[in-house]
Structure formats: C-alpha cells, structure tokens
C-alpha cells in the first residue's frame, strides 16, 4: 500500500514540469516553490510593474486592478470599516479638514473647482462639498469625481442620490484614467485629491505630471495614502494585522481573499513618505511636508503648483544644487 502511494506521488511529480530554476530544492524555499509556479511570467521585452508582490506587464496591471475593484465595489465601505476598525473615516475627515476646501477671502469669493481622482464611491467628494458648503459657506464649489472603474462610479452615483448633491451641477462623474486626463483642460483645477488610489496606478509619476498639468498655478495636490509606520514595535503589530487579518476578513466577509491579499501587498510596495514626497517634488510641486496619521499607517501629502516665475526659479535652484 505504502509503496503504491509513493509510486503514485512519484509519477505525479514527474508529470509536473517545473521551470529550470526550481529544480534545486532548498528547505528555505518551500513557500516560494508553492507560490511561484502559478505566476504567469511576463515576456522579457515588455515593460513591467508590480501588482502587489507579483511582477506583471504594465498592460496587464490596469485590468487586474480593475478586477479587484469590480469585485469589492459593493462592499467597499463595510470592508474598510472592518479592516481599519473604522479609523479610515477619521483619516478621511481629517484629510478634508486639513485641506479646508472652499475657503475664500473678501476679494475672491469664488468657489473651488475640485477634482477627486480614484474617488469612485464619492467618499471624499461628498466630504469636500460638505466642508465647503457648511464650514466655509461656499455653495459655489464644484467637484468632478473621476475613476477608472465603472462599477465604483456606479456605486458613487447610487450614493450621491442620498445626498443633497444628487443631479446638481456641483457634482460630476467622469470615467477616466488618471494618467491621461485629456477631458480636463490645463490650469483649470483648484484642488486635486486622491485618497487611497495612487497606490494602484500603473505609472505614478505620470499621474503626478498629469495632476500638475490640470492644476491652476497655486492649485493644491493632496493625497491620502497608506504609508510606512515609523515606530518599529507598532510596525510589527501592524504588519501582523495587515498580512494576517485583512485577507482573512476579506475571505469571511465578502468571500474574496485574493483582492485583499493584493491590497496589503500593494500597501507594502508603495513608496515610503520621503520617497513619495520626492516624487511629488519631481513633478514640480512645492511641498510643505507630509503628515503621518495613526503612527504612519497613512500619510497626507500635499503639494502646491508654483507660479510660472517661481517654478523657473525653483528649477534653476535645483540645477545649481
């Protein structure tokens, strides 16, 4: 009997065709062996990017991210609450409060023109409009909610019906890729926000350049995104939670482990605070620094597009340095 089982196993293993590099089996590499053969290897001559911990072709990432968000659109809020223990609402509130949208002065009482990228469900957009209307008494501010994913936008449209902005000219929805916002003219936006979205972009630097293009001189780029925890002890706890609990919660609540596995991996892959600030400055923005939230789990990055004269000066200074 034992002989027969071992013989069957031998036959089965012989049938499996491992790529060459997997032939030498080491004790430490068993986990990798279990995972790696399932990954489709991108052709060598294609530009690649990462999708969580996987390396995929750039052309593929967009589709796969779309897949993730189509899967989770309906349960987006419930899952965010479970995963962050409700803290994501505090982050978003704080983010909007710190931007203070709709603020005016006596000589310029115009509304703000805002663009919320990757804001499908309208989470940030409704908050921005609320703050502008209720806190700064500026009912003229408008917002365009843009997302690459039609399911997320549908979710946002559905939710907007419950707000006072439903079917009003103050709220628009736009299906667009943040790396190519050709529908939006140059120098036309006061505030560009992207909350928990830029992490999923295929080419982040290109998206930042596009943000720079659409913003008016003096316009604000504001980004809320997961980041690096600064305290090592807290980091250990946080990593345990994100890699242990979040995919499990995803599996239990919406029956989709892979989407949430991608989520935690993409958080891990996203550049740390200093590096991301460097990317914002590289796009041409003047940055006042970032603000860590909850020990650095998330961070708020901001940048202001300088006037043409200041931008030239700043570029000259950068060359000198």
């Amino acid at each position: 009997m034992a002989l027969r089982i071992s013989a069957r196993q031998f036959l089965r293993s012989a049938r499996r065709s491992y790529p060459e590099c997997h032939c030498i089996r080491q004790f430490s590499s068993t986990v990798q062996q279990a995972v790696e053969p399932t990954q489709p290897q991108p052709p060598l001559n294609e530009r690649t990017t990462h999708f969580g911990f996987e390396t995929v072709a750039e052309a593929q990432k967009e589709q796969r991210v779309a897949g993730v968000f189509s899967n989770i659109a309906a349960s987006y809020d419930a899952m965010n609450d479970f995963m962050s223990l409700g803290i994501h609402r505090l982050w978003k509130d704080h983010f909007v409060r710190s931007i203070n949208p709709g603020t005016t002065n006596p000589t310029n009482p115009q509304g703000w023109k805002m663009l919320d990228i990757a804001g499908g469900t309208g989470d940030i957009a409704f908050r921005l409009l609320d703050h502008s209307t209720l806190i700064n008494c500026n009912p003229a501010s408008k917002i365009i909610v843009s997302d690459i994913n039609p399911e997320m936008l549908d979710e946002g449209r559905k939710r907007s019906l419950k707000t006072s902005y439903a079917n009003s000219p103050r709220l628009e929805f736009l299906l667009a890729n943040a790396e190519n916002l050709s529908e939006i003219p140059d120098n036309s936006i006061d505030l560009y926000t992207v909350a928990f979205g830029i992490r999923n972009f295929t080419n982040k630097q290109k998206a930042l350049g596009e943000a720079y293009r659409v913003l008016k001189p003096g316009g604000v780029f504001a980004c809320l995104e997961f980041s690096g925890v600064t305290n090592p002890v807290f980091n250990a706890v946080y990593k345990r939670w994100s890699f242990g609990a979040i995919p499990l919660i995803g599996q239990l609540v919406v029956g989709d482990r892979d989407s949430y596995q991608y989520l935690v991996e993409s958080i891990e892959r996203f550049p740390r605070q200093e590096e991301f600030r460097g990317m914002i400055e590289k796009a041409g923005f003047a940055t006042p620094g970032w603000e860590d939230l909850t020990g650095g789990i998330a961070a708020v990055h901001k940048g202001v597009k300088p006037l043409v004269s200041d931008a030239v000066e700043a570029a000259a200074r950068r060359v000198e340095v």
């Binding site: 603020t103 703000w112 006061d190 003096g218 604000v220 200093e274 003047a286 202001v304 300088p306 700043a314």
Partner: protein
Amino acid sequence: MATKTRPLRLYSKRFYHSYDHPAPGGPFPAIETSILRVSTPHIPTHGFTNTSLSLGAQDAGYLPASTNLFPRGAFSLVHYYLYTQRLALAAHTNITAADAVGENGYVMGVGGKVRALVWERLMANKAVVHRWQEALALMAQPSNIPTSLKELAALSDEIWFLAGDKSVDSSWYTKRASLSTIYAATELFMTTDKSADFIDTREFLDRRLGDVKVVGGAVGSVSQWVGFTAHAGINVLRSKGVRI
C-alpha cells in the same frame, strides 16, 4: 529599501555666529516667504488669521487654496512676523554702534542699549498691537509652544548680542533668561495699554529692568556673603586643627 531618516530641515542650524559667512536662508522656503511677505500688511485689518494669509496668497498671485502650503495655518504668519521683526533689530545702528549716545546725552552702556533695543522691538508691534492677543493665543497653543519659546530665546539673545554683551560665564544664561521674562511680560502689558505713546508700558519696562537690577544685586550680595562666611568658617575650623 527606503531609509528611515527624516529629510533635513530646509534651514541649516548653526551653533556659531560668523560675520563673514551669514547663515543661509531662514525658516521659510522661497514661495512661502513670498506669500508671507505680502500677507503681513493685512495683519492690522484682518489679524493673525487665515484670511490675511489667503489675501497675501492672492496678492502674490496664488489662490486661496495655496494656503495649504502652511500646515500650521495662521501660526506661520505669527512665526514669520516674529522672525522678521527680530532680524529688523540689527538695522537700528544708532543704538548698536559702539559710541551710540543715549537720551541723556551720554554714551550708552550695555544696559542702556538693551533697554533701547527692547523698546524698539516693542514699538515695532505698535501697528498690530490691537491684534497681538490673537498672536499670543496662537503662540500659547501646545503644538506651537516650542517654536514660540525658541523665538523668544532667539530674540533676547539677539538683543544682548546687538547690545555688545561679551559675557562668557553663567551670567550669559541668567541675562538671557531674565530678559526673556521681562520682554514677554512687557509685551503682554502693552496689549492692554491705552496711554498716549505707551508711556505706561515704558514705565512698566523700566520698573521690570529696575527689579532685575535690584534682585540681581541682592542675589550677588547674598552669594558673596555666603561665600565669605563659608570660607571664614572653614578657616576657623582649620585653625582649630580640624583636617578639612
């Protein structure tokens, strides 16, 4: 792997003073400075508020939204005001010159120069004194206290330096500490002073400076007495054969 270090602050910190190589820059980057510079004229009307900042941004060609460059909001305006007024003191060469003549017609000593410089600094607040309580409230907010205290310390150091103080003993510290308290107290007094040309504030300042002289003299006398008595006591004991 990203490094864990925070980026260097935009202004360098130096622990020495050099006449030949002035410290580069201030605590504010170029764009921030251009907005803050044109915001200060709005302070008398709109106070140390975001409105002043927003109007300043507008004057500089920016948008109301651009005030997002100042994460500390109106406190940045206070900080900029304190910083520029401190640097402006060096321009009073009629006081800081070595042979500067005081009101009484004699050449001013270090004490006289300190008094004159404090007065000049207080008078610089004249235009915004009706808004100064706002600034004090912002300065007293817990997250802003470290910056405020540093500015106060830097101001009293600047005043002693410009007055030509060359002390290298522990009085370096006591001088700066006592001047800081006097300045802060007088500044607070000035916010409620309604007298013509701030005569009450002037008298208040003179009384505080007088207090320091009296207290400083008393402390000096007491320590001299304690030192003398201790020495004498030890000598008496030694003369009695005690081995100390």
